[in-house]
Every structure is written in structure tokens, then in C-alpha cells.
Symmetry: C2
Subunit: 401 residues, 2 copies
């Protein structure tokens, strides 16, 4: 039988990262290509203890069908935290537990976009979200990302020319660039969304992982401080502050949108694994959360600093990069005119170090770019040192000292 796939998925491909990750099954390969949180950051002892408690106290709760919106005590706990941070507005907002922030982003697109509607994203951006949007056959338009956020003129021009439903932003330590959108630009993005009747989808997986500098308030909070609501959908996750394998995230925003997302989630996976929801809830009750975040920051600060130290030591000076104030990634650029795809291919083949070429994060991944992404959260210190040395060798062979 010959299949004709739906238009929305026929062009959809596994991401280039996925292809590169295949090489990483070779134990000799050092991977700077992943986006995994540091395994040493998982509170394994606490999780083990909580899981044991769950099965002692109420196993049926953790095993039976549950409601689509999510485990009520967990939703209440997250709402309370977000309200304290000025993000959740109980009068206008609702919150749904999702199977990772990935699902929060996908469902937002599904409920708001017809095929052909426009979603504007930072360029480069997180390929998982870009592919989620593409899977609804939307018109995905990338707007240049500068080191303090969107190029605002280009953003407004794009909004003027398109019926834009969603502006997708990762404001803190963006994937792949590590860039953080400035307060000024956050205000401008919100203003433009209000002017052009679009929803800002503010995806904040890395916000807690700031290891330097001051927090910038979220776009959702700016809206709330204006006494307004409805133009920002905020998505968060426990992947980077508890564990990603449990797949617990959430979306918070206007009640009407969240209610539609509930119906769409119901037909997708009924509800998120309930053991994981109860676990997350008990984790929030049990730990000193601020201390936990401080502990995580210490782990990530150390890893970032060690990575930067080794990059400075070994990389050709022709490779430029900026030092992110948090998150998991460092964004590097080759000298003008060089294609990072070629560089990354040589890195994996000649040096057995996996990097992700910048084109993987573009709306159209056939465009050549001179940038690549380094992850410092997954590799061990030994791997960081050895990997930087190897990439350093390659860079010096190609570009000199």
C-alpha cells in the first residue's frame, strides 16, 4: 500500500539534532550536542523516598485514571507559586498540567492556529517547538534574534504583514543561543502582541537556572502589572528543576484558551502520568525549594565556568561566543564565510565530538549558518576538558591560533 501522509506532516522530519545524537551511542563520542539537564542535579534520594511513600500511602491514586486538567493539589501548588511571582492571575487565568512544556507549546498552537496562520518565532529557536508548529501546517516566520531579544523592527514588520496568531519567545537563556531578552524588549514584544492581537507564547524552561546577574521579570508578569490579561500564555516545566524523564510541565494563561487545551489534551493522552504528578507535588511540599534552586545553580555555575575556562584555553581565537548568564547552552560562531555544518561534521568524524550546527535551529534548515551550539550540562568535567581540547585542535587546524 502507498501512503499519502497528511500535508501537515509530510514534510516533517526528525530534527538534525536527532541525527547527530545517533553518533552519540558510540561510547567514544563526547557529546556537547544534548540538551539534557545535568544528571547530578536530579534529587534521586528525595525522589526515591517520595515514590516509596506514594505506594505506601495511596497506590490507587498513582495508578488509576485521573483528570485531564492535572492533579488538583499539584495545580494548586504551582498556581500559588506563580501567583506569588506575579505570573498567575486567578481572576482571568487557569493552569493545565501537560506532558512536558513541549505539550504546552504544541497544544497552544493546535487550539489557536488554522493551517496557514502565522506563528512568529525567534530565529534561531528550539527545534522541538518549531516542528510542533510545523506539524499544524502553519506559516512559521523566523525573526532575527539579537543578544537582547528579537530585532523589534523586524518583528513589527512581520506582524504587520501577517495574520499572526502566536509570537513564540524563550526569554531566558534561550535554546540554542543562551540569550536573554531584555526588560525593554519584553515590554515591546507585549505591546506589539496587544497591538496586533496575537498571543505571546512565553516558554520558560530555563528561568530558574540563572547563575549570574539579576532575574528579568516575565512577559506574563509585565502584562499582569499593567492590569491586563489574555495576551500571554506562559509555559513551564519540571524537566530542568526536578527531572525531564517524568514529563511534567504546565501552561498558564487565559481560562478560555486553557479550557480548549484541556479538551485537546484529553484526546491526545487523557492525562499526564499521575505518579509523576503526585511525585512532583510531594516534592514541592517536602523540599526547601529555594535551597534546592540554589543547589542547582551551584551545579550549573560550576559546569558553565569549567566549559568557558576550557574553551578559552583550547579554542582558536577565531571562534567567538558569549557567556550566558544561565541555562544549558553556549552559542559559538565561526569566522565569516564558514559553514558550521561542515565544522560539526568534521568534529564528529575526525574528533568524535558531537556539536549541533546552527542550521538545525532555523525555520528552514537548508540555510547555511556559521554558528553552532555547545551544551555544558550533560558532559562530565573530564569530557568537557577533553572535548574542548579536541574542538580546539580542529578549530586551530582550520582557523589558526
Amino acid at each position: 500500500m502507498e501512503y499519502i501522509f497528511s500535508d501537515k506532516v509530510s514534510e516533517l522530519k526528525a530534527s538534525a539534532i536527532r541525527e547527530i545524537l545517533k553518533y552519540t551511542s558510540d561510547p567514544q563520542v563526547i557529546s556537547f550536542a544534548a540538551g539534557n539537564p545535568a544528571p547530578e542535579s536530579f534529587p534521586v534520594g528525595t525522589i526515591t523516598e517520595i515514590s516509596k511513600e506514594i505506594f505506601e500511602e495511596n497506590p490507587i491514586l498513582a495508578l488509576q485514571y485521573s483528570i485531564t486538567e492535572g492533579y488538583t493539589p499539584l495545580r494548586d501548588a504551582i498556581k500559588a507559586r506563580l501567583e506569588k511571582k506575579g505570573i498567575f492571575n486567578p481572576e482571568t487565568d487557569e493552569l493545565i498540567i501537560t506532558s512536558g512544556a513541549q505539550q504546552a507549546n504544541e497544544l497552544t498552537a493546535k487550539v489557536l492556529c488554522n493551517e496557514g496562520d502565522t506563528i512568529v518565532c525567534e530565529q534561531p529557536s528550539f527545534i522541538g517547538s518549531l516542528n510542533a508548529f510545523k506539524s499544524y501546517n502553519v506559516n512559521l516566520v523566523g525573526v532575527t534574534l539579537e543578544d537582547d531579544g528579537f530585532n523589534i523592527d523586524e518583528l513589527e514588520q512581520t506582524l504587520k504583514n501577517n495574520n499572526t496568531k502566536i509570537i513564540y519567545v524563550i526569554p531566558n537563556f534561550q535554546n540554542p543561543t543562551g540569550f536573554t531578552t531584555s526588560l525593554e524588549k519584553r515590554k515591546q514584544i507585549l505591546e506589539l502582541a496587544q497591538k496586533y492581537n496575537a498571543v505571546v507564547l512565553e516558554d520558560n524552561p530555563y528561568g530558574y537556572l540563572r547563575v549570574e546577574g539579576e532575574d528579568v521579570i516575565s512577559i506574563k508578569q509585565i502584562e499582569k502589572e499593567q492590569g491586563k490579561s489574555g495576551n500571554v500564555m506562559y509555559s513551564g516545566t519540571f524537566s530542568k528543576i526536578l527531572a525531564p524523564g517524568i514529563r511534567v510541565g504546565y501552561a498558564c494563561g487565559n481560562k478560555e484558551i486553557i479550557n480548549k487545551m484541556v479538551v485537546c489534551k484529553q484526546v491526545s493522552d487523557v492525562h499526564t502520568n499521575i505518579w509523576a504528578q503526585v511525585l512532583t507535588c510531594k516534592f514541592l511540599e517536602k523540599v526547601n525549594f529555594d535551597q534546592h534552586i540554589q543547589d542547582l545553580k551551584a551545579i550549573y555555575r560550576k559546569k558553565r565556568d569549567f566549559m568557558i575556562e576550557n574553551m578559552q584555553k583550547y579554542f582558536s581565537s577565531a571562534i567567538s561566543y558569549n557567556i550566558p548568564e544561565g541555562g544549558l547552552f553556549i552559542w559559538c560562531s565561526l569566522p565569516d564565510g564558514y559553514d558550521s555544518m561542515e565544522f560539526c561534521n568534521r568534529a564528529i568524524k575526525e574528533k568524535k565530538v558531537a556539536l549541533v550546527p546552527g542550521c538545525s535551529f532555523l525555520v528552514d534548515d537548508s540555510v547555511k549558518t556559521g554558528s553552532f551550539r555547545l551544551n555544558f550540562s550533560t558532559p562530565t568535567d573530564e569530557q568537557i576538558e577533553k572535548g574542548c581540547k579536541l574542538i580546539g585542535e580542529l578549530s586551530k587546524e582550520m582557523f589558526g591560533e
Copy 2:
């Protein structure tokens, strides 16, 4: 801000079951409305033990990001079982772990259907799947379900008149009717799918729960025995044989389709909760599976028999029903001319017993029907007796002895 939701979701509503389930939060209400497996069927001791082992042996495996296809040892274990049953064909097929069979069904529709394409379903059928299909704005056409499966003439007529991509079938102890499609009709359905170039989506959540009679081979197996492949997508789940809250299901079928489903799953939830996948895998390794199924059958046989016994004892003889050979449901019909919505409303309001009216399982739920669904797996014996007595009273008030 006024939202315009996408066409595909704007008409999508929470199911009527969901509305009825709201009443069931009243502890005085006896619910025959759920579709939950019997909580006493959950192997709590074994699960507790396995979960403990997982955190002792390899906690990082159960907490870190994993691959979208699913945990390889679990996939291999399921493939081996399905191959033994003549369902999985290693030469042509692939298998993906999904977040419940719900996701298997949703992804099949997403990869195969453009808006406006036709999906044919049994009428009545499982509302979760019908809503999943509707959420892609397909042309959903219901074909009369008889007590041995589709009305085949009506099915062929429907296929002739529509560009049908998917024929959706729950062949064993169907939800809501409890009907099982006969071998003869399974062959005819496959033949028609081959003739009209459609994919049979064979959803088999209840297959293991046969408490009487002989198993009928699956449509997927019939295809394999013909030496053919590609016209059947088979979806299964651990919801009814292990626990539904863990959300572990799978889809098995043509490699090309499964590969597309992998890409679509990646953008939906990245992967299914990995703790749950490892748990399921270890469960399959650890238990005597055949014995486990025998134990489940004993639980469900007892519950079904007790339900039927009480229905026979208390219900007005004007209510007819058939005795299902397995599954979780009994399908009842009121005397001609009566609307089951009214009956179910009176049942909940006057008797505090929750039933689901037949219209909830139709493509168009505004159509009046005289049928309703009873679930016998969730209520306790005491609730079964009391609930049947109350429904009996109502039925006798309305229709005499």
C-alpha cells in the same frame, strides 16, 4: 482579547461523560458511568517492588530524557509477544510506545488525514477516539454497529462514497457496546480496506479481558496470515492489564507510518514517562503473564456476573441488554420511543446513580437514542447491588415490571 480558535477545535467539546462524571464527585452517587479498570486488578505489590528496584538499580535511566520511539527493551518485549500472536511482522512493521492507546489513535489520524478526509467509525464508538479524530477536522462518518460488528453493506457504501483514510474498529468487547466483531466480519473489513485503500485502525484495549467464549484473531493477524501488510494499524495498551494512570500504550504497523508517528510524538510530548516504561518492561519480565491475565479474568468475570445477576433481579423486563463476553461494559436499551438522555438524567437526579446515555458515543451527540452504557469494573459489589436496585426502581416506575 477575543480569541478565534482554530476550526479544528472550535466545535470540540468536553465529552458528555465528563459532564456526568462531575456528579460522581458527590460521595453519595453510585457511578456506573466510568470506564476505569477495577482498582483491585492493579498488581500494587509487584509495582511497588519494581519501582523500588528501578531507583536502586538505575535511577538516572528513569529520570533523564529518553528516546521518542520508546524504551528499547520494552519495545522488544512487546514486539516479541505480538510476533508470537501473529500480529507483529518484523519485516514490514515497527512499534512505537505511546502515552496510552489514546495517543496511538490520535497520531494515526494526524499522520494520515488532512482536514476533510474521511474516517469511518463504528456507531456508537469510544468518544475519546471520535474527539481525537474531530480535533483534526476530518469528515467523521459513523456506520451502524451490529452485535457482530459493522453493518458491512453500509460500510462498503460509505467507503464507496468517501475518500476514506481510516476505518476505526474496536473489535473486542467494544466501548460502549461490549460487542465483539465476528471473524467473518473481520475478514470483510480487511478486504474492504484493501479494496478501498484505507487503513484499518484496530484498537484493542480490552482483548485480554475475555471472560467467556473463544478469542477471535485480530484483523492484523488475518492480514499477516494472508502474507500481506500495511492496511492495519494495531493499537494496544497496558491500561487494562497493568494500570491506566501510567499511560503506557503502543501502536504497531507499517514502518513508514510508525516513523511518521515518531516525528509527531516527538513534537507532542518528546517521549512517554520513562519510569512507567521501565516499570512496564520489568513487569513483563517478572510476572507469569498468562497467570496474571487469568487472575484478571477471574476478577472481571465475577464482577460481570454479579452485575448481570443484579440487573436480572431488579431491572424492569422492558430494559434489554446483552451479556458481553468480556471488557468493562454492558449496553442497555430502553423500550422503543424512550430517550436515554432523559432516563440517565432522572437516574442521576432522583436515584443518584450515574449512567452514560448512548448519544455520548455518537458522531453527532444531539441525536436521541434509547440506549445507555453500564460499567461494572469500577463499582464495588455493594455499589453494584444498590445501584442496580435504584435503577431497577426507576425503570419499573417508568416501564412497569
